[in-house]
Amino acid sequence: MSIETDRLLERVQSDPQFHELVRRRSRLAWLLTALMIVIYFGFVLTIAYNKEFLAQSLSGGVTTVGIPVGLGVILSAFVLTGIYVARANTAFDDLTKQIIERLKK
């Protein structure tokens, strides 16, 4: 790594706006991680402890509540990754770029 890069890393490290940015992005990442864990383990523990809930008919037919719930877990994984990418690739990345540009001068 070049000396310039080292100096830039040091400057960013002591920049309060950088820490605020990382705090916000990390909070979102850990929140979404927790959500995914709760959704998945909620699903399998419901199966372990309360099969009847998932086995009941959704609306009188043979389709059970378990079908939309299971598909919902799959969909939630996709939606959660979408939320993170939408936030991180726009607002957070723009902020990162601003901070770096400002400190490069």
Binding site: M1, T5, D6, L8, L9, E10, V12, Q13, F18, V22, R25, A29, W30, L32, T33, M36, I37, I39, Y40, F41, F43, V44, L45, I47, A48, Y49, K51, L54, A55, G61, V62, T63, T64, G66, I67, G70, L71, V73, I74, L75, A77, F78, L80, T81, G82, Y84, V85, A88, N89, D93, T96, I99, I100
Partner: protein, 569 residues
């Protein structure tokens, strides 16, 4: 040898099968019987081979530097990488195994498939962008970023090679049996063919060829499965309720196929398997390696988003395909063994299917589109295997050349040319070893091996990676001891688990020392606790330096300043 096809025979109450043992069955595919030569399938497969060899030739011409060989020069887009990740991850076993599980047990197949998806958001939120920002070609680059290179590279290379070995054996044995059934080719020839093709892709075409083989395979698999699911739904005027209605009428298990069955047993097993799947995905070397093929963190994030979408969509398709097999095949004697006797309502038992329940998706393709479509789906299954084993071989070869040779043996003084040449030799060696192991393990029960690979990835690779990225206090000593403790404890617990000790090794029932089939809950705890304990008690001078180096690593991991390949953009 216990197989998927034995499941439906047992009543649901009796089939108290732990999630993990079923998981392993479906991922180490087992089919039986050798069929006649299938001309359409062979023609389409040859077409695939010729096309991919052409791509390999083109890729070989473009592969000049180490960066080209290991990381496709960082020139893959987020969308392409998302497809390639999906192609790297969706195995023939998940296509045939999950649809077989749905065919035999209905809803349990959906529960099972969900577990293989939920690791992807974790990869995105915690690992992907930091990996891209800190590393160059392997996850060891990241794990060793601020630590002593030699011990951490050795640990990561061992973690990589062990995971690759178990995963590869399971794939090779499954491939040999599947190809024997689909194409009428001898087991040994099938294994040799798979081994030679993967050597050619990797040794000549490196990451560029591997990526495109995976992308093409993902498109073929998603396209073929979409067509099948649409054809099935069309038979019921696109009403899932009508399809489920028909399935419950003719399936031997009746309406219980619409509810959770015996897949989830006790909470400890369930949580342990869930942890292995969730965090093991974030420790699979061939998957992590894919994040170095894109230009920056933005593209790395996008690739996981697309991959999650493709893989999730694929699991929904396999669920529909499984129900298609129930509704369209279960009363047709053409798909069941000659001696099989249908029940009173005219339905056969899923266990009596020709070639086992794992062939249900293949038989369904015949029922939906005739022998031409059967040939297409068979060729897709073969392509699927090739894409997965190529990714594994490349990851193993890179661990040997980039981690062991360049960093440990040559101590950073190796030139690129020698490093890449060694990587190609390693790919050849891994391929030959895989053929040999595929041959040796033909008659063995390899069902537990994919589960073991995930458990080790979750208990060694992931903890070392996560702790080096997130915790300032981690030191070389902590990472090294904790990582090896995770690796050893996971392996030992699997060996003395009921699934291996009793089912595979044949010791009497109840003699297994460890009561659960998946060790992740315990071995991950051991790994994290080990890293923490042996780090905080590390009072060496180098440890102080490693802690001090965290801040610069942290800024780089969060911003990408100084990241490899970033200068070009």
């Amino acid at each position: 040898m216990m197989r998927c096809d034995t499941l439906p025979r047992a009543s649901l109450a009796l089939a108290a099968v732990a999630l993990s043992s079923v998981s392993a069955h479906a991922d180490a595919i087992s089919v039986s019987g050798k069929s006649d030569l299938n001309i359409e399938a062979i023609a389409m497969f040859l077409l695939f081979v010729i096309a991919t060899l052409g791509i390999t030739k083109w890729a070989a011409g473009r592969t000049k530097s180490a960066s080209d060989f290991y990381a496709a020069g960082g020139g893959i887009t987020g969308f392409q990488n998302g497809l390639a990740i999906a192609g790297d991850y969706m195995s023939a076993a998940s296509f045939l195994g999950i649809s077989a599980l749905v065919f035999a047990n209905g809803y349990d197949g959906l529960i099972y498939s969900v577990g293989w998806l939920v690791g992807w958001p974790i990869v995105l939120f915690l690992i992907a962008e930091r990996l891209r920002n800190l590393g160059k070609y392997t996850f060891a680059d990241v794990a060793a970023f601020r630590f002593q290179a030699t011990p951490i590279r050795i640990l990561s290379a061992v973690g990589t090679l062990v995971v690759v070995a178990f995963y590869l054996i399971a794939q090779m044995v499954g491939a040999g049996k599947l190809i024997e059934t689909l194409f009428g080719l001898d087991y040994l020839y099938a294994v040799i063919l798979v081994g030679l093709l993967m050597i050619v892709y990797v040794a000549f075409g490196g990451m560029v060829a591997t990526t495109w083989v995976q992308i093409i395979k993902a498109c073929l698999l998603l396209g073929g499965a979409t067509f099948m699911a649409l054809m099935v739904l069309a038979k019921f005027n696109f009403s899932p309720e009508a399809m489920f209605q028909r399935a419950t009428e003719i399936h031997p298990n009746g309406s219980s196929i619409m509810e959770p069955g015996a897949l989830v047993k006790d909470p400890i097993s369930t949580i342990s398997l869930g942890l292995a799947l969730m965090f093991g995905t974030a420790g699979l070397p061939h998957i992590l390696m894919r994040f170095f093929t894109v230009s920056d963190a933005k593209a790395a994030r996008k690739s996981v988003f697309y991959a999650t979408g493709f893989i999730g969509y694929f699991y929904i398709l396999t669920f529909i395909i499984g129900f298609g097999a129930i509704t369209l095949l279960l009363q047709d004697p053409a798909y069941f063994k000659p001696g099989a006797v249908p029940g009173p309502n005219g339905s056969f038992s899923p266990a009596d299917m020709i070639g086992s329940g794992n062939m249900s998706a293949v038989h369904l393709s015949n029922a939906l589109g005739g022998s031409l479509f059967l040939g297409f789906i068979s060729a897709v299954a073969f392509a699927t295997i090739l894409a997965v084993v190529a990714g594994l071989t490349l990851a193993g070869a890179t661990a040997v050349s980039h981690d062991l040779y360049a960093s440990v043996i040559a101590r950073g003084r190796a030139n690129e040319y020698h490093e890449v040449r060694l990587s190609k030799m390693a790919a050849v060696a891994i391929g030959l070893l895989a053929i040999f192991l595929g041959y040796v393990f033909e008659k063995q029960n390899v069902a537990f091996m994919v589960g073991l690979a995930f458990a080790i990835a979750a208990s060694c690779n992931f903890p070392v990676l996560a702790m080096s990225i997130f915790w300032k206090g981690t030191t070389t000593r902590g990472a090294l001891i904790g990582g090896f403790l995770g690796l050893l404890s996971a392996t030992l617990m699997v060996i003395v688990s009921p699934q291996v000790w009793e089912t595979t090794l044949g010791y009497p029932k109840g003699s297994a020392l460890f009561p659960y089939d998946n060790p992740a809950l315990f071995s991950m705890t051991i790994a994290f606790a080990g890293i923490w304990l042996f780090s905080i008690t590390d009072r060496s001078r180098t440890a102080d330096g490693e802690r001090a180096a965290f801040d610069a690593q942290y800024v780089r991991s969060e911003t990408g300043i100084g990241a490899s390949g970033a200068a070009a953009h």
